[in-house]
Symmetry: C2
Subunit: 117 residues, 2 copies
């Protein structure tokens, strides 16, 4: 029924509802990365990263491939990347409100530093 679909969507959004997990997905945007790479790039605790990866795995937003010692992650479906791209557009459209919402910096600084994400 309707409700199942909404729960499904909500679950996906929930999985995306954390800065670290968004950062993970964005890192995977251009190909797979090992957990170690991600750890280094994102500068988070090993356990913490692993927990976030577990969330993404549970909702099947990422897939993982074991290669010897390491585990390589990638996004399962590029649609998710499209979703993030839309969010980016959304962000720019409402930049001023976004800044107010975040309550920090000035728009110019935020816009500049945003090159690349």
């Amino acid at each position: 029924m309707q409700d199942a679909l909404r729960r499904f969507k909500a679950d996906i959004f929930q999985a995306l509802a954390h800065p670290t997990r968004i950062a993970i997905i964005e890192q995977l945007e251009h190909g797979e990365r090992s957990a170690g790479d991600l750890m280094e790039k994102l500068g988070v605790e090993q356990a913490n990263l692993s927990q976030h990866l577990a969330v993404l795995r549970a909702k099947q937003l990422v897939i993982n491939r074991k290669a010897g010692n390491q585990v390589f992650y990638s996004v399962r479906d590029p649609i998710i990347l499209k979703v993030l791209a839309l969010m980016r557009r959304y962000f720019y459209t409402h930049l001023q409100e976004a800044m107010d919402l975040l309550g920090e910096l000035d728009p110019k600084a935020a816009a500049e530093s945003e090159v690349g994400s």
Copy 2:
């Protein structure tokens, strides 16, 4: 900086991460609705609906217009609707996995009942 944007995105996803709030947005897909209309359509408690609307307002996903006694809500930016549309596509692409994830019904029943959302 990067991180601010990610927090922003995460906040938006967080706001969408509840079946009732998704239902609200979907109801607004074709124009504004009063809080009362939404309450009836969704069959939720008045206070509960109001709380969910407050979340959507806080993240500025919806705007509201007071008309006399009532408050009419609408989605602020159609991009959000596009996001939901993408999720719909995502759902169908991974229907079987979605069903497993939700742990209920069979794909056919879910697919049928999904007409309209």
